[in-house]
Amino acid sequence: MTFIGKSIKRVEDKRFITGQGKYTDDIVLPQMTYARFVRSPHAHAEIRSVDISNAEKMPGVVKIFTGADVAEINGVPCGWQVDFINGETMKEPKHPLLVKDKAMHAGDAVAMVIAETYGQAKDAAEMIIVDYNPLPAVTDAKAAMEEGAPQVHPDVPGNLAFDWELGNAKDEVDAAIENAHHVTTLEFINNRVVPNAIEPRSAIGHFDTSNDKYTLYTSTQNPHLVRLLLCAFVLGIPEHKVRVVGPDVGGGFGSKIFHYTEEAMVIWGSNQIKRPIKWTAERSESFLTDAHGRDHRTKAQMAFDKDGKVLALKAHTYANMGAYLSTFAPAVPTYLHGTLLQGLYTTPLIHVHVNAVFTNTNAVDAYRGAGRPEATYLLERLMDTAALEMNMDPAELRFKNFIPKFNGVEEPGYQTQVALQYDSGDYHPVLKRALEMVGYENFRAEQKAALDSGKLLGIGFSTYIEACGIAPSAVVGALGARAGLFESAQVRVQPTGKVSVYSGSHSHGQGHETTFAQIVADRFGIPLEDVDIVHGDSDAVAFGMGTYGSRSLAVGGSAIVKSIDKVIEKGTKIAAHLLEASEEDLEFAEGKWTVKGTDKSVSFGDVSLTSYVPHNYPEGLEPGLDFSSFYDPANFTYPFGAHVAIVEVEKETGKTTLKRFIAVDDVGNVINPMIVDGQIHGGLAQGIGQALCEGTIYDDSGQLVNGSYMDYVMPRADDLPQFEIDRTVTPCPHNPLGVKGAGEAGCIGSTPAVVNAVMDALSPYGIYDVQMPITSEKIWNILNDDSGETEE
């Protein structure tokens, strides 16, 4: 029986629906203590003194650490280096475990209080007296580069971490724009959003004095990477003496990729006090310290000929890095953003320039899509705006500019102007299908009828490409990655023919325990329940690069296939021996090796048992049936799709209601359609949230004024419709599964589609540019008063 392409119900569900999931905060160790961090209330402040004398006397206090205690320890490192255009090295100020002399953002940790209970740790934290001298703060990336702006780091004058450019020669692009029939120009802010996994970050550090071994339980997307960074770059402790476990993790969306200071503090601290330490963020701490996403301030121009063919694209972005460079932060506005500006279009000339800037805000790093949503927003807002300005149909404008179909096998991949070579693509069908689903033929008439009866309906389009499973390691290394981006997998066939798979990918909702098992059961021809997927524990799994960038199936799944192939190859040798036939005469299908053209066969279970009880066994062959593989892909994968939003804007209140959302995505081959659909749904909700309601608000002093669930607006159930989704299938030509990745697609395509729809609805008023999030307040103000101010 085949398991590929089937919506198998998830095997991991049982523990979650019965309340038996095991998240980090659910773990209790003997003698465990609890930590509370004292965090700077100021965005930028000198720390004159930290007085812990009263706090130390509080009940239950075990130990208090301040910046002075960890001053000699390295900070948490950045994992990606992007140097200046002029060759100068990226500015990389230390991100200390606790700050000693200066707080760089509201939420920077100043002290760690450890007590017998969490309540006692909180009580004692209140008693610490920190004498701050508040300094002027800067929160906006462009403002931070202006003359006289507050300086975040004394050793980074001008606050510029690096600048970067890519594409065709700038003067060629400028000339094409100068001479074009039409140029569409947009300046916009891609709003800063907070990932907001519903499980707050949590970490437990445990130093075992019996064997000098550390264990870190942490809500992470990649335990092995955390271990590597923790050992090799922060604490300098031997890697073989550290076990990192990422147990059940309640959502990540990027924010749990990174190695955070709290992880290092609980590990280091557990050796100081010789007891385990647990820290779990309160939601307000998560808002202040989980790496944020987006925050680009961009000016972009797209030039067209009179028929609507795109001639050139130019973009400049100020990317807000926050106060420190988080693990993958430098890659996001550069190699995950600038490189995607070809989109689905044949644009012959592209130039992108990025300034990555320090501010007195929390760090910004990869959030679902990471750079690709920003690139898509840039392109797709330009496309719909250009269509409006040139009085062309926005769908037609896209069809006119799509790259022609190529499968990456007989036809070569598509070489973009911005470094990447797309693997395979067929872009017309996704938009065509989306238009069919919308009923586009009739929509404009409905829209007109609605307008006549006083209703503002709008339709918005977005056709996107993304780059997933970034690889191969040598290429990403050349682009500045300080890590490889391969994956490992071990397939261990047990003597009885049951299979344990150890994957370096990590599931925090994606359903690996089901999808990966489908692949294994399918290839071996055994029942699904005979396969178990183990992940998230560095002691169990040899190595892993973790889960982010929609890489698990394309990279992690392919690593599993490599090991499966090795098992079958060795199994064939054993089967040939047992059947007294030559290997060439055997075929392996449906869980058994058969001598071609006969009924002589031997089962998978018999072969595995023989491999562990090798009495009657091929000479010279090692016993056992257990293989590890490392898979380093040949290229990125390039999913794509077309998203269409239909909105209604209520004139009286400015409220936007999302009436319909249609998504047609092409993520290559699909192993479990149910799970892929679920990934799309979730991505859509997050992308729609960015468009309509989400976004941080920092005041002038650098306070995050909407840093709680009371104040930061995320989509709730009654804000969204049921989604209408479909897909086309263009297999990836370079991995054994033909898969491309589905985790981020929904979040990449949806944001501009929604914004474009609102702009379309408002077009009767001549309004074509409103900044995200497009709240009812913003629209009401624009419709009622151009100054944006209201009268009491």
Binding site: I17, Y23, D26, I198, S708, Y709, A717
Partner: protein, 159 residues
């Protein structure tokens, strides 16, 4: 100072000494080691800690443990009957109504309250009823389908 409380959780009586400031959710998680009820925020906004108090959905972070004195609490751990899943649990599995699973217990408990008051809710009524529960994974799409599925199962069972 600690105070004595006695209450019933999932049909079993418990008597414990607790700090008066202990929230019901922390009592469940830390005193009783029932970690199926989750904490996702500090403002009673996310709904991950939803339990039933005398059959009515309650965010267990909004109540002190000592206020639950004498009441009957049902948590996610008390929903299945031995190996027989509650129809809502079964429906969440069938409709892929969960991904990371963190919001799931709260969603199921809230939905149980909804269905006990409205056996056949419309999509709109379900969406309104879930307004106090955040999910960041599913976009709510399959959660809606799960609750519709459970409503159908439960109606069929009572006919």
């Amino acid at each position: 100072m600690k105070v004595k409380i006695s209450l019933s959780v999932n049909g079993k009586s418990y008597e414990r000494m607790v700090e008066p400031r202990t929230l019901l959710v922390h009592f469940l998680r830390e005193e009783l080691a029932m970690t199926g009820t989750h904490v996702g925020c500090d403002t009673s906004s996310c709904g991950a800690c939803t339990v039933l108090l005398d059959d009515k959905a309650l965010k267990s972070c909004t109540m002190l443990a000592c206020q639950a004195e004498g009441h009957q609490v049902t948590t996610i751990e008390g929903m299945a009957n031995g190996d027989n899943l509650h129809p809502l649990q079964q429906a969440f599995h069938e409709e892929h109504g969960l991904q990371c699973g963190f919001c799931t217990p709260g969603m199921i408990m809230n939905a149980a309250d909804l269905l006990s008051n409205n056996a056949n809710p419309t999509e709109h009524e379900i969406r309104e009823a879930l307004e106090g529960n955040f999910c960041r994974c599913t976009g709510y799409h399959n959660i809606i389908k799960s609750i519709q599925n459970a409503a159908a199962k439960m109606s069929a069972a009572t006919v």
